[in-house]
């Protein structure tokens, strides 16, 4: 590894490939957060907890004895769907449904309380020791990427699978929201809740559906991340703060915008890891502040008319 460090171009190439995988994960989480905020108008702090629980659940399920290696990938999806389908509807029905009429501050705090509760719940179930399970990554193996005369092995998981899944999610979600009836109903509620309800749309159902979808997306992000890192308490907190940065930078309610911003922030962070490691954690926020200075409504957000 060391000898390549003279070659800045090579290093940049590495950073970009790493960043792509990272951006894919960031996108999975932030697009769910954005969708939920667009429809429910609740900024869900506990979204990061879904990510963490998805990751832990995937590691546990994948680590069960007697599981064939080929199953290591489907298990990730299964874990995410299970977590999302259990937690999403329960939380929406029991908790969020009571606070839709409240002020944004209260809504934010309710999800913050939920975040605190889920954070300890994770520690109770999975303990505080690092958990890891990289069977899926090892099973897929590596591919040699030629780089300026050198050959660098990259895991196929990070190079193909993560960006592939993110791209499929992006295309699938865009198609679902624009071409299917249910999707269009969701968009209608996002644009104008009152008018949509007046047209006979059952907003409650839409809220439940969207929140569950968001939870599944976050859990899937976590499940996909689980084979690439070891899981420790606090990953949920990191993720939610980063996702906030992504959706505030992108502008609210944007799917493609969230994808581009996730890419921007993912690549930015990855380049920082290679060239200025001490700035790694700060880069997403620097990008966010820079963007908001120039465009207060976010990169892709529409300027809102002032309320009179």
């Amino acid at each position: 590894m060391i000898t390549w460090f003279d070659e800045n171009g090579l290093l940049l190439g590495l950073a970009l490939l790493d960043g792509l995988a990272y951006a894919a994960l960031v996108f999975m989480v932030s697009v769910g957060l954005n969708l939920v905020f667009g429809v429910l108008r609740v900024l869900n702090v506990a979204h990061g907890s879904f990510y963490a629980i998805g990751a832990y659940a995937a590691a546990s399920l994948g680590g069960m004895a007697g599981l064939p290696v080929w199953a290591s990938l489907p298990v990730l999806l299964l874990a995410a769907v299970l977590v999302g389908l259990v937690l999403g509807p329960v939380i929406e029905r029991i908790l969020l449904r009571r606070i839709y009429a409240e002020e944004p501050v209260i809504q934010l705090l309710v999800t913050f309380a939920l975040f605190m509760i889920l954070e300890d719940a994770q520690k109770l179930v999975w303990g505080v020791q690092p958990v890891s399970n990289d069977v899926a990554v090892r099973w897929l193996g590596t591919v040699d990427v030629p780089f300026a005369g050198d050959v660098i092995p990259f895991t196929k998981y990070q190079l193909f699978l993560l960006p592939g899944v993110a791209l499929a999610t992006l295309v699938g979600l865009a198609w679902f929201l624009r071409r299917t009836l249910t999707g269009r109903v969701i968009v209608a509620v996002t644009v104008d809740r009152e008018a949509a309800t007046a047209m006979g749309i059952d907003a409650k159902k839409v809220f439940l559906l969207t929140f569950t979808a968001g939870a599944v997306l976050a859990a899937l992000g976590g499940a996909l991340a689980s084979p690439t890192t070891s899981l420790v308490p606090g990953i949920g907190a990191q993720t939610i703060v980063l996702s906030f940065a992504v959706i505030a930078t992108a502008g609210l309610g944007q799917i493609e915008g969230a994808a581009l911003t996730a890419l921007l922030i993912g690549l930015g962070r990855s380049v920082a890891v290679y060239f200025a490691p001490e700035l790694e954690v700060v880069v997403p926020y620097i990008i966010m502040v820079a963007v908001l200075l120039v465009r207060p409504q976010g990169l892709f957000g529409a300027a809102e008319a002032r309320r009179v």
Partner: protein, 312 residues
């Protein structure tokens, strides 16, 4: 209610002194609670304008690190405290000039982002800040007299109580002044405020700088009391804690933050002792219970009781 408030404040202060006297181990916790109450008072001002800062712990961290850095050369409480407040206020002014352009979620998230930037810088620049190990605060003095032993605890408790009382009075006067009343207008109809010829940004900026100064004072007191500062002071969950206390205490009255802070710290201490691993969960459940069943917070409950007492 307003007329009863000073008497309640006095009674509360006396009760705190009595408890600190009777149970010395609680004195430390009450000092921290008072400090947090001061920071929460700042959050309350912003809440009046409908804006919630999820990053105000950064100003507390600024105050705390000012104390840690300056203590070896000039370790006097009476010098350090104004210095921490001035620094936090100056940084608040610079950031405020930019951040008061934004409202609601953007306001919350920009504060959050900036506090995380500060957190990362404090953690990464080990050579200056000693990273996550934090810095031990050098021995302090007050008005030239060195502080040590149990006396130091009492001095810090007294300092916290005095500073809290000062800010309580400042906030009270500020909120009934035209500048303070205009805050509520930002929450309801900002455009109409501008029609009156009042700069909404200016109104919010004053509140923002004031809240930064309060958080800076809180951070300084926390640093001088616990004698140890770490980057965690700036972490976003610390900011969340401040908003949490504001709601717990009730956003209705200026006493709310202190009631909230004392309640919060006591719940925290007892929850940590009773269920060591799930104190965070206990706090989360307490927060949910307050929001769902007592939306006015502790202050709301007390105000309700007082009203009922007067009616009979």
């Amino acid at each position: 209610m307003r007329r009863a408030e000073p008497w309640l404040a006095l009674a509360g202060a006396l009760a705190l002194v009595a408890v600190a006297w009777a149970a010395p181990w609680l004195r430390f916790i009450l000092t921290l609670a008072l400090a947090k109450g001061i920071a929460v008072l700042g959050i309350l001002l912003l809440l009046r304008a409908g804006q919630v800062s999820f990053g105000h712990a950064m100003y507390a961290a600024v105050g705390a690190y000012v104390v840690a850095f300056a203590a070896p050369s000039m370790g006097d409480v009476l010098v350090l405290l104004p210095m921490a407040m001035l620094t936090a206020g100056a940084i608040g002014l610079v950031i405020g000039l930019f951040i008061t352009r934004y409202r609601e979620i953007f306001f919350s998230m920009l504060n959050l982002a900036l506090s995380m930037v500060l957190y990362s810088l404090l953690e990464k620049f080990y050579a200056i800040t000693k990273g996550s190990d934090g810095i031990r605060v050098a021995p302090l003095s007050i008005a030239g007299m060195p502080m040590d032993g149990p006396m130091a605890g009492w001095v810090m408790f007294g300092t916290a109580l005095t500073v809290a009382a000062c800010f309580w009075w400042v906030a009270r006067q500020y909120l009934i002044s035209p500048m303070g009343e205009a805050l509520a207008a930002i929450k309801t109809r900002e455009t109409r405020l501008e029609f009156l010829g009042v700069s909404a940004r200016g109104v919010l900026l004053v509140a923002y700088v004031l809240s930064a100064i309060m958080a800076g004072a809180a951070g300084a007191i926390i640093a001088m009391t616990s004698r140890h500062v770490t980057p965690l002071l700036a972490y976003w969950t610390s900011s969340g804690e401040l908003v949490f206390i504001a709601i717990l205490g009730g956003a209705g009255g200026v006493l709310g933050p202190f009631l909230g802070a004392v309640t919060y710290e006591l719940i925290r201490v007892y929850a940590a002792a009773a269920f060591a691993d799930i104190w965070q969960m206990a706090l989360g459940l307490a927060l949910l219970a307050v929001i769902l069943f007592a939306p006015g917070g502790v202050w709301g409950v007390i105000a309700g009781l007082l009203r009922r007492a007067r009616a009979t």
